[in-house]
Assembly symmetry: C3
Homo-oligomer: 267 residues x 3
Amino acid sequence: MPIITLLTDFGDLYPALMKAVILKINPAATIIDISHDIPPQNVRVGAFALMYATQEFPSRTIHVAVIDPGVGTKRRALVIKAGEQYLVGPDNGLLIPAARNLGDFTVYAIGLNEVYAAGLNEVYEVEHAPPKSATFHGRDVFAPVAARLSKDYNTSKFKPTGDFVNLDFGKAMALEGALSGEVVYIDAFGNIITNIPGSLASQHIRYGDEVEVCGQQMPFVRTYADASGPLIMVGSHGFLEISVREGTAARLLKLRVSDPVRVRLKR
Amino acid sequence: MPIITLLTDFGDLYPALMKAVILKINPAATIIDISHDIPPQNVRVGAFALMYATQEFPSRTIHVAVIDPGVGTKRRALVIKAGEQYLVGPDNGLLIPAARNLGDFTVYAIGLNEVYAAGLNEVYEVEHAPPKSATFHGRDVFAPVAARLSKDYNTSKFKPTGDFVNLDFGKAMALEGALSGEVVYIDAFGNIITNIPGSLASQHIRYGDEVEVCGQQMPFVRTYADASGPLIMVGSHGFLEISVREGTAARLLKLRVSDPVRVRLKR
Amino acid sequence: MPIITLLTDFGDLYPALMKAVILKINPAATIIDISHDIPPQNVRVGAFALMYATQEFPSRTIHVAVIDPGVGTKRRALVIKAGEQYLVGPDNGLLIPAARNLGDFTVYAIGLNEVYAAGLNEVYEVEHAPPKSATFHGRDVFAPVAARLSKDYNTSKFKPTGDFVNLDFGKAMALEGALSGEVVYIDAFGNIITNIPGSLASQHIRYGDEVEVCGQQMPFVRTYADASGPLIMVGSHGFLEISVREGTAARLLKLRVSDPVRVRLKR
């Protein structure tokens, strides 16, 4: 059974319309929600969540991601084959970190004409008609493209391109006794996830070492239960994560997505 | 595979019990959440969400909707065949706008006796027993009726009726240089959705025209990216929708569901 | 089709990774969310929600529950066969009320060695490797164990044990003209659910009787619509539940989970 995932900033209700459209085109699809609570129009947070989640999915999973401030403008739609999986969404950088993380990837751009060539006349009443709305391409473009793709995994009707909007999470680095990076995600526990790879951190600190972040002392530990207050560790995504045992790191450190983070080493 | 959707004001936990009951009766059912975050007991908001979502689902989808302040009283349960789809829920108006929107519809009322005649003895331990609880008919009546219906789509055991609680979203009209209507839904972005049909609006305003709503000037545009502050447009549901680029319309205009809206034309 | 349910305090995003892992091991699984919004690390609330929800699921359902403050420590993982269903999660009491409620149950403890003997080398690149992370056993241990179990329902590779962390919701009792118990759950409507069984209550009060809780007078009724302000009744879970018609009981009575509750009888 083909798997199609959804990641959006739609909150409630709208995701159900994407699912309806998918099931109309491919009733055999298994639909999995990755998240619909990405902060509105925050492409960077969506890109991190997508990169993190996609790495665990089986081959041939098709991920539809829609954080799309430019909906209804001339921004293109993309289909990406990345490793053994597929990504569908707007050309605004949202898909790129996930694509890069999944392995070798090929980007296909879809202009509206190509949308219809891909078989979307199955979806729309009138062949070559524009999408039903200028504001909900999740329902009118991305979901149908993904559903259609899930029937044959055939990308030959799309046009490969090297020209797409890039996005990365900045360079993390070790410099002058500190690891420097930025906040890329804050989870439901208020844990702060940075762009500093665990592999970089472990070259400079060892379990039990004390570090300082935003004026707070905290140990570098293996898991949450290894400390009683603030702590820093390599999270399940492989990046440095700051947490507070029985507390909320984001509140204690007053950090938000995109804020810079300096982890000062105490050795 | 039969599709059964759920729309409730239950928030967390309770929807899972409806799903359990459905899968016990029809393990082949694909269950899709439309929303569980309708404001508590707000039948009007639920009715709009149901009307909007149902129009995209495939034939034979069965929608279970439970916003049910009268649970446990003598209010009846309804099964509606509307167009090629089915609706199941309480007789309080919740299902009616969706039914009307889906095409010709037939309303069947289910008294408790009929519930059991429909085969609910499969679900309850004792034939003709009352539902397990007087407070959770989503689990004890509506979910089992929908699951049972999804096995044969046979409505002949229900009694057609012309007597049911009606609900509509009021009349929108163009009068004295203004379009008048009311707020029917506010989405997760804070966008304000009115009951003023796009078809009515387009007889009176054109893209680029300025209008005034609640003392705010705003252009009538095609999509969100066409303005930099407040804007009004025909949303993906076909109704006038007020939005604020990188802001929250509901907060700026201080409008809530059921409030009247006047869109004053400036030409 | 095997059913696997998920109950966690993860909020957003992380549940999708558990689903990815499950579908990689058993693509035929139907995955149902019970809740991901249990208050962070609140094992008692999670235990009540699990107990309540599991009783409605079909035979052979496998429930994965992860409220896990001790993740990464030496706390063991459990698989429980309870009645005709299965429970998978940490050994911290979370699974026990559900197990007891489902009927006769057998507890199997899984040390890390046993995890791999159960076939987890399907999941991890290296046989007998430790889980990928010390912080996300939902993804790295519990989801894979459940998915593997859903392929053959074979528990013979696990070791039965009588030694596990217990949890119950305390004793409710009738004493000196009052029913005494505690708050076990507060739902999305703000309804207060106690540990006082309806069967105990109905020995002491009848529909229409007035009682007093936290200084508030309220009638004992059959359903929400039977009162106009605060009310008490036997909820759909079989326990005494305090509700406020068109209001929020938790706010009016200022009660929180684990607070004691005294229902004073007025006859």
